[in-house]
């Protein structure tokens, strides 16, 4: 405006100026694209590294050393009275059967110390395995059968190459004598790495070779199923009420601000709240998936409500007008038209909330889901733990054998997450198809 007395630019001059600026503009674009690409490469590198570390550490957890021994189910040991009474069968000394089988294999071993060394090749839980077999089928008594038994964690580590043979005897968990036995068993084909059924089907244990993830998987399943059951209806109902029915006033503004704030509250605070209210005041059982689910519901509700409200807001007003103009009541408008259109967005919020709930451990520590629990939970009030807490527990254990279990548990956790999210995404796709 100020230089109106300047002569007007010719078309060529204008073009020259534009051309000169072009190079700078394109360069800015190229630079920006390079930044973006670099960011993606960096993120991918970290991710690949993470997966590589977890899988290289954790794949070992899915294979376990087992020993083949010819077990003689000695009636004199198991059932001297010959009653076949299940209580007697339970109480018998199955460790003696394993000791006898080992002694038969290595007859030259003598003395209590030598025998103890020898029995340490086999896991302490192997005797329980034999006990289960016999109780299930008492006809085994008196027969001889070759059984694959869990090896001890020391043998397992040796088999997987985690123990340095060159170390002096005092600095490694296996003695020279045991090394000799292991080598002999291996050369006979009686010691081998097998698929680790124990890890995927048993609960936690003090012994690394007998520890399983299934208890935590079931605990996580119960907790998350209940969380979904509680948080989805409550979250959606709250969002629908706030978005469609509530009048805008100071109260609804206050509620909205508080919901947004709740989404940012550290999760451990919810754990403390759960401890004080659900366990302290209402007297619900400790360590139970029920209480865990209630705490995780508090945690995921803000996420679900915020996402659901955004989804409801994005439904075009013309659809609402069309429904109301037809004489639909407000609730018909909401349930027939608005919610079906908003459902995919609501599900997205729920997926994000549930993924967060699955990975959460801090609030669950506060309500006692961190306890050492061997049994597989059978219901939502049984004591149990969840996958991230199991990872935390194992990572804290001093035994070397738990290192690969920890990574194995992380793999199971990731698999759980993938299965859960895939289901949710398929579900969302199904609803999205309703144009």
């Amino acid at each position: 405006m100020s230089n109106t007395n300047k002569p007007r630019r010719t078309a060529q001059e204008t073009q020259a100026i534009v051309t000169a600026s072009l190079r700078r503009r394109y360069w800015a674009e190229r630079r920006f694209r390079t930044y973006g690409l670099a960011a993606i490469v960096a993120a991918l590198t970290f991710l690949v590294y993470l997966f590589f570390v977890i899988f290289s550490n954790g794949m070992g957890a899915f294979r376990q050393s087992e020993l083949k021994l010819d077990i003689y189910y000695d009636p004199a040991v198991i059932d001297p009275a010959g009653t076949r009474n299940p209580d007697d069968l339970h109480a018998a000394d199955y460790q003696a059967l394993i000791r006898a089988a080992l002694k038969k294999k290595f007859p030259d071993v003598e003395g209590r110390a030598g025998t103890r060394e020898l029995t340490r090749l086999v896991s302490g839980s192997a005797a329980f395995e034999l006990q289960r077999e016999v109780v299930k089928d008492p006809n085994l008594i008196g027969t001889t059968r070759s059984e694959w038994l869990l090896a001890s964690d020391a043998v397992d580590l040796l088999q997987k190459g985690h123990i340095e043979r060159a170390l002096p005897e005092a600095e490694r968990p296996v003695s020279d004598q045991q090394l000799g036995w292991v080598d002999r068993l291996r050369s006979e084909g009686s010691l081998d790495l097998k698929f680790n059924k124990t890890f995927l089907s048993k609960g936690d244990s003090r012994e690394p070779e007998a520890a399983g993830i299934w208890g935590a998987v079931v605990g996580s399943f119960f907790t998350l199923a209940l969380t979904l059951l509680l948080s989805f209806p409550i979250g959606v109902a709250a969002a629908v009420y706030l978005e469609e029915f509530a009048r805008r006033n100071r109260w609804t503004d206050l509620i909205e601000v508080n919901i947004n704030n709740l989404a940012a509250v550290p999760s451990i605070v919810f754990g403390l709240l759960g401890l004080a209210v659900f366990i302290g005041f209402f007297g619900l059982p400790r360590s139970a998936p029920l209480v865990g689910a209630m705490v995780l519901t508090l945690l995921t509700l803000p996420t679900i409500i915020i996402a659901s409200r955004a989804a409801l807001k994005s439904v075009p007003p013309s659809i609402r007008e069309a429904a109301l103009g037809m004489g639909a009541s407000k609730i018909q408008m909401v349930t027939h038209h608005v919610i079906p259109l908003a459902l995919p967005g609501m599900l997205t919020g729920t997926i994000i909330g549930m993924a967060r709930a699955l990975g959460e451990s801090a609030p669950l520590l506060m309500i006692g889901m961190v306890a050492f629990i061997v049994d597989i939970p059978k219901g939502v009030t049984d004591a149990s733990t969840v996958l991230p807490v199991q990872v935390f527990l194992w990572s804290d254990s001093p035994e070397r054998g738990f290192v690969e279990k920890t990574s194995g548990a992380i793999i199971v956790l990731l698999a759980f997450l993938v299965v859960m999210n895939t289901t949710a995404v398929i579900l969302r796709k199904k609803f999205e198809r309703r144009w």
Partner: protein
């Protein structure tokens, strides 16, 4: 909703300014309640007296009184922001859905006030259907779009009856031949003009007494517009129609009576032929002769 509000917010002051220049100061400030022409008709279906609409502090409609006759098309014309859509939305209480909107005065449907506490808004909207500016079929199949109204109001006893209602409604809306082979296709897959006729079919499926149309052709091409106009001529045999339109030619073609709105006032009402050939009010004349608007 937002669009309507925005239209109101963006009320342009240009017309009144120009009127002041062209028509002389005496006529520019129109006196409230002094509508030129005969607002009353014999045996009206709607009878509106002294209707005021406020959006918060804004006085959008000022003391408008007008009757709507049966079996007739009433066209409401006027420049943007004159309140014609707002007034239309009073007739089936769609303004209730806008927060802060307040309607005063009496609107009688068949002699009974629609704002009466005993009158139900759902029932009112079943009697007074509405077609919107932008075609807004539900994101469901063509069949479901038409069947929705009869379904929620329980008008069809069984599937056969419902099929018949859907068939008749589509037929009357002139859409049957085009969609009879793909009733299960999504309503949104139709062209704009077809979608608008689908919306009309959806409206007449609940057998209303009045159909309100809020600029039904403004998003359509001339051929689709012509089809809708033909349809209106047919529909007025059975229904009273109130149409808001920006196009004076359309008002002249489809309506029997015309009302001219200006800045929230109803300036003039009369037979369409008379309004377009011999407007009595200066503002009406300025508008229809294209001096502004």
């Amino acid at each position: 909703m937002e669009a309507v509000q925005a239209e109101r917010a963006g009320i342009n002051l240009k017309p009144s300014g120009r009127v002041a220049e062209g028509a002389g100061a005496a006529e520019a400030p129109v006196e409230v309640g002094k509508t030129v022409g005969n607002i009353a008709v014999e045996d009206p279906i709607f009878s509106c007296r002294d209707v005021d609409v406020y959006y918060g502090a804004k006085h959008a409609i000022k003391k408008v009184s007008i009757d709507v006759a049966k079996s007739q098309v009433l066209a409401m014309i006027g420049p943007s922001g004159c309140g014609k859509s707002t007034f239309l939305r009073c007739l089936n209480r769609m303004n209730d859905t806008i927060e802060g909107a307040r309607v005063e005065g009496s609107i009688l449907l068949d002699g009974k006030d629609i704002h009466d506490k005993k009158r139900d808004v759902v029932q009112l909207r079943a009697r007074v259907g509405m077609v919107f500016q932008k075609p807004n079929p539900f994101p469901k199949s063509i069949y479901e779009n038409v069947a929705y109204g009869p379904r929620i109001h329980g008008l069809a006893g069984d599937r056969v009856e419902l099929d018949e209602i859907v068939h008749n409604s589509l037929q009357r809306a002139g859409l049957w031949e085009e969609v009879k082979d793909r009733l299960q296709a999504p309503g949104t897959s139709l062209s704009g003009g077809q979608q608008q006729r689908l919306c009309i079919a959806r409206t007449i499926a609940v057998n209303p007494e009045v159909i309100l149309m809020d600029e039904p052709c403004s998003a359509l091409d001339p051929i689709a517009t012509a089809r809708i106009e033909d349809l209106m001529e047919e529909l007025r045999q059975s229904y009273a129609i109130v149409i808001v339109t920006h196009s004076m030619q359309q008002a002249a073609r489809v309506s029997q009576r015309t009302a001219y709105f200006h800045l929230g006032d109803l300036i003039e009402v009369g037979e369409t032929d008379r309004i377009f050939t011999n407007p009595r009010h200066r503002l009406t004349e300025d508008y229809i002769t294209g001096r502004f608007g």
